[in-house]
Structures are given as C-alpha cells and as structure tokens.
C-alpha cells in the first residue's frame, strides 16, 4: 500500500513538473493580430492520388507493390518519365532526384521537381480510412467524420479566423471541404463556398440594358445616407453603421478592377502562365483558381483561397491518366509559386507575395499498391501531403510508408508515443508555423518543430 502511495505521489509530482515545463510552449502561441500580412492557398487533390508516381515513388516489385509501368500508364505526356526495366515486355520509371537535393520524386511531379528547396513532403500519413468523404474531411479538419458529419473546423476556416477577420473575403472556398465548426470562430469568417470563381462573377455582374451603373450608384449613395441617418437615430448603431459602410464599399466591389478577378477570361489574360498551350486536359479549373488567388491577394481582397482539384479517382482503365492528372496539378502549383514570386506584396513594400503565401496540398488518401483486375488502383489508407511555405524547412520529406505494403510506419516519437505521422500533425504544424496554438482548433496532432524554420 505504502509503495503504491509513493508511486502515485511520484507520478503526481512528475505531472506537475511537466505542466510547469510546458508553460513556455503555450506562451509562444500568443494570439496573433487579427489583421495579418500572410496569405494561404489550400488545395485538396480530390479523389485520392497515387503517391507512388510522385511524392512517395515506387519503381520496384516488392511485397504487394506493383509499380506504375508502360502496361498501365500512358507515359507519352509525362515529361519526367524515363524508362527503367521492369520485366521483359514493360518498363517502369526512373526515380527523379533533383540536383543538390536528397528528395526522391516520381515522374508525375512535373515542374515542382525544379524547386525541391521549397518542398516539404509528408509521406506515410496514417489516413485510417478508405472512404472519400471521411478522408477528405480528415485531411482538412484533422478529425474523422462522426455520424457522417464533420465535427471540426477546416484548416482554411482556422486560418481565416486567425488572420482574415478584417479581410473583405476571409475565405473563398471553391469546392474545398470547408467546415465552420467550433465556438471560437468569428461570424465573419464563415467560408464563402462556391462551385467556381465564376459564381462570384455572376454576383458582381450587372446588365446595362434597362438602367446603367450610374443609376445603381445613385441608389447605393442614397441608401448609404439612409443607413447613416438610421444609425444616428438608433440605440444600437453598429449593425446599421456596418451596413452603411458595406454599402459605401460596394462601388469598389463592382469596379472593373475587382470584377476582373472573378472572370475566368480576364484571369487567363492576367495570368497566362496557368493556361499553357496546348490547354490542360484535367486541371484547367485549378489554373483559374490559382490565377484568382494571385490576383485577389495582390489586391489584398482575400486571406485564404481553398479549392479542390480535378478528381484523381482512377479505379479502372482511367488510371492510365493518373500521372497526367498529377503532373497538371503540380505544374499549376509550380506556376502559382512563380506567379507569387513575381507579384509584389500588397501591404509590405519591397517584399514578394511568395514570402508571405503558404500552400498546403492534401488528398483523401492514396491508391492501392496493387493494380486491380480492371487495370486501375483502388482506395488505400495511406497518404501524402505537400507544404510550400517560407516558414517550413524545404527540401525535406518527413514520415514514410513501408517498402512492401505502402502502409504508414513510425515517423518517430510523438506525445502519445511512437507512431506514424497523421493529418492532425500536418495541420497542427501548419497553424503553429504562424504562432497559432493548435489546441484552439485541433483536438489531436503534434507540432513537428523540426520542420519549421527558426
């Protein structure tokens, strides 16, 4: 009995010491200012991508792994495909090793392969699901669905809540699995969910056949005066004053300069690098969304742009296009990085947008290491994620999947023990990179400090 009591006291003392020791960690997560100079692009590679062709390449038959080969893949449009022998009548690919980098990449990596110093890759993500809906929301919120419903805020909502409360558009979500769940969220940051950027264009578009912009501006000006008068007579002025200020901002929203960023044709003219010739076969919409992100951020109109790419769900013979779907997505992301390099920051003189823009790519899960009877790959509970951010150490791959079964293996010691890395860790590390305490939004997940720049 005495022995048990002593053990209990020891544990209690240890816990208290650990609590005291952990205090500085949480002090480091002081609330950041509501207004911020950081921007975010969150991309969901929908449908579940085949990581063996890009972020976690496999080109050997080993265990249950059947690598992509000329038997199953249309290799002609894949620029980084270099044949490597597989068997007598088919070839697989050579692993791409960027010069001066330790990264190993697959041929579908596209133009992102030219910028390894900016890539932070998470491999061997324990997705623990093969359901599209579950994997999608797990990757974006860090929580599995409960009763078929998301139960936590998505990463874009978290970031908008921290940094976008004062933005004209805190989050524009184009098909991204955005959720608004939690007591700490500001009402202003509810994601603006649209099917396409063009949808916003429709809201700002005006016909000029019957009446003109001058007529509408006269109405807006009159209503602004009405709101001002009503506010002056009101006991509670804030709501009506806010209404009046938003009315006063309407001409800016409807100006041709702002309307351009919601128009696909105008975006293509402003950012031609996202629309190469010949045209993209799968990711044209991703190009529109990236062009929108750049133009909206240049004007400081939006804090987070999140969108879903074309589907990677290739169960059958359409698997032949899997590397092209990925290559087009990664090419688009590379074009985004270069466009951000070329764009000045809207509020920080002399700085580039790329110095303050942070990109996160996730997917539902990955695809099976085996080729199925219809020459495709099915769902598999492993995953990868990609971060491109000046706050992260580049040229890095963290975590891994095993050599024989492509299943997540231990990535090291976490607070809850030795285990593989998981989506909550990715999200916690991502928000912690900006001084946000992950526990404000995430129940699970450790911050992987080794991936963050000092």
């Amino acid at each position: 009995m005495e022995n048990r009591r002593r053990t209990f006291l020891k544990v209690l003392g240890g816990a208290a010491a650990a609590g005291v020791a952990s205090q500085p960690l949480f002090r480091a997560f002081a609330d950041p200012p509501a207004a911020s100079d950081e921007f975010f692009v969150l991309i969901h590679a929908s449908g579940g991508w085949d990581v063996t062709l890009s972020l976690d390449p496999r080109n050997e038959r080993r265990g249950i792994i059947e690598p992509g080969s000329t038997d199953t893949i249309d290799t002609a449009p894949i620029r980084r495909w270099r044949n490597a022998p597989l068997d007598a009548d088919s070839s697989t690919f050579e692993i791409y090793r960027p010069a001066g980098s330790s990264l190993r990449l697959g041929p579908a990596i596209g133009n992102l392969g030219d910028m390894p110093e900016r890539l932070t890759i998470f491999n061997g993500l324990a997705m623990n699901t093969v359901s599209h809906a579950d994997g999608t929301f797990f990757a974006a919120t860090g929580r599995h669905l409960a009763g078929g419903k998301p139960i936590a805020a998505s990463i874009d909502t978290m970031l908008a809540n921290e940094f976008g409360r004062e933005s004209l558009l805190p989050t524009v979500s184009v098909g991204y699995p955005s959720t608004y769940v939690g007591n700490e969220l500001d009402a202003r940051v509810s994601p603006l969910r649209v099917n396409s950027v063009d949808t916003l264009s429709k809201m700002l578009n005006r016909g000029n056949v019957n009446t003109t912009a001058v007529d509408r501006q006269a109405v807006t000006a009159m209503l602004t005066e009405e709101a001002r008068d009503l506010a002056a007579r009101s006991w509670y002025r804030d709501e009506i004053e806010g209404f009046g200020l938003q009315l006063a901002a309407l001409p800016r929203m409807l100006s041709p300069d702002v309307q351009q960023i919601f128009n696909a044709a105008a975006l293509a003219a402003a950012q031609p690098s996202f629309f190469p010739s010949p045209g993209l076969r799968f990711q044209n919409r991703a190009g529109v969304n990236c062009a929108f992100a750049v133009e909206a951020m240049k004007r400081n109109l939006v804090r987070c742009v999140s969108f879903a790419s074309a589907s990677h769900d290739t169960h059958a013979a359409n698997y032949r296009s899997q590397p092209l779907i990925q290559q087009e997505l990664f090419d688009t992301v590379a074009a985004l990085v270069r466009a951000l390099d070329a764009a000045p920051h809207p509020t920080l003189t002399g700085q580039r947008l790329s110095d303050h823009t942070h990109i996160l790519l996730v997917s539902d899960f990955c695809r099976t290491p085996q080729i199925n009877l219809t020459l495709g790959r099915d769902h598999y509970p492993n995953g990868s994620a990609l971060v491109i951010s000046p706050r992260f150490v580049g040229n890095t791959a963290f975590g891994r999947a095993d050599d024989d079964q492509l299943l997540p293996v231990s990535a090291g010691m976490f607070a809850d023990g030795d285990r593989p890395v998981a989506p909550p860790d990715v999200l916690a590390t991502f928000v912690a990179a900006f001084g946000v305490n992950p526990r404000r939004y995430l129940r699970d997940g450790d911050v992987i400090r080794s991936l963050l720049r000092a």
Partner: protein, 245 residues
C-alpha cells in the same frame, strides 16, 4: 328493475334541468351588481413611483433577416410565384443579363448548408450586399417591364399599382408622395409618413435624377418614369429596414 329504471330517468331529468338566468331585477333583489370597472392608472400615480424612470430602450441590436425569409419576401412581393417560376421570369428571354439562378446566390445570401456545417450568415458583408443589389435590380426591372410597359390594369399589377399621368409629364411632389407611399407600405410595410424625416424627399431626388438621365433613352432602355420607379423600387428592396429587424 322497473324501480331502477325509474330512478335513473328521474336522475337524468334532474341533471338536464337548467335553472333560468336571473333577471336584472332579480339580481338587484339579490344584492348583486355589475363589478366596478378597473380604471387604468399611470405608473407615476402609484404612491412611491412618482419619479420612476421607464425604460423603453430596445434590448438587442437589429438582426439580419434570415436568408430564407428574405427569399420568401421576394417571392411574395414580386408576384407570389414559386422560386423556379420567378427564376424563369427574372432570367427573361431578352439576354439583358439580369439574373442567373437562385443557386448561384444562396451562399452569398447567407443560406446555411448543414451538410457541411456551414451556418447561416448572421451579419451582412460586402459580397452579400452585392448579391442584394443583383437580385434587387432584377426584381424591380422585371416588375417595371411587367407593370409599367405592359397594358396591365392597375389592380392586376404585381407591384406598381398606380397610374402614371398620360401624356407623360413630371409628377408633382404630392403625386410622387402618394405613389411612393404605396410602394413603401408594400415593401417596408408601413406608411412613408411614419418614416424618418427626409425619406420621401430623398427618394424623390433619386426618382428625378433617374428621370433626367433617361430623358432621351433609346427604345430598349427604360424611359424616364420607368427608370425612376425602378430606382425607387431598388432603393426599397435594398433598404436597411428591409434586411434588418
């Protein structure tokens, strides 16, 4: 048995017998009189409450009308059609780009999407006001086309249930005020005379500005009075009092 039935019959008859209501004379004889009426007493007349302050202040700030209520108001005010039928009417066939689909505006209007836990928008934002304008312009311009351009009897009109002078001439202040009051009652649900001072004059200025700008409009564009009433209508369906309560 016979005795039992006879007793039951007597008992039943006894239960059904209703006593006659007493006459006023009988009531007076019985000492009954009409109860004294309670006279309302101001609270300040109650001893000890002579200087009691009464709080008439509103207890919570204006709230945003739920988007569903807003859409239902649009449907009711502009013809009582179903959402799909009103959409067809608003889109029109003339290619004047007034409306798309309700689905295109739901997110901006703040309609919740509980499938992904997107709550209703509790506050306005700039994009929401842009959507209000887009929808308001479509509703009012279509109402002008239907009511003022067509040969529709006044009582059969959707919104503009008043006559305009023929041949066309400028409205006097009184003529404008009477017509504006009809729209104000219909859209904001109370007489314009009860609105804050200056509202009628402000809308009259808006109306006259549009009339002047459209004095020499082409055949397709609205003429002066049409543009003027379209502007007045837009001013009312986009008014803060229409969206906040």
């Amino acid at each position: 048995m016979k005795t039992t039935l006879a007793l039951a019959l007597i008992f039943t008859l006894g239960c059904n017998s209703t006593p006659a209501a007493p006459t006023p004379a009988a009531r007076a004889d019985a000492g009954l009189s009409r109860p004294t009426e309670v006279v309302p007493t101001p609270v300040t007349a109650i001893p000890g409450h002579e200087v009691l302050a009464q709080d008439h202040a509103p207890k919570e700030p204006p709230r945003l009308m739920p988007a569903e209520t807003l859409i239902r108001s649009y449907l009711a005010l502009f013809g009582g059609l179903s959402p799909q039928a009103l959409q067809v009417r608003l889109r029109g066939t003339t290619g004047d780009n007034l409306f798309d689909t309700w689905g295109d505006y739901l997110s901006a209007l703040g309609v919740p999407d509980y499938a992904v836990d997107i709550p209703r928008a509790p506050q306005t934002n700039a994009l929401m006001l842009a959507a209000f304008e887009r929808i308001g312009v479509a509703l009012c311009e279509r109402a002008v086309q239907a009511d003022l351009r067509g040969a529709v009897a006044v009582n059969d009109r959707v919104l503009f249930r008043f006559e305009l002078p023929t041949p066309t001439r400028a409205l006097t202040d009184e003529e404008f005020a009477a017509r504006f009051d009809l729209l104000h009652r219909r859209i904001l649900a109370y007489p314009a005379a009860l609105a804050p001072d200056g509202r009628i004059a402000r809308f009259r200025t808006l109306y006259r500005g549009a009339v002047e700008r459209h004095a020499d409009a082409g055949a397709r564009a609205f003429n002066g009075p049409e543009a003027g009433w379209a502007s007045v209508c837009e001013g009312l369906v986009r008014h803060p009092e229409f969206h906040l309560y």
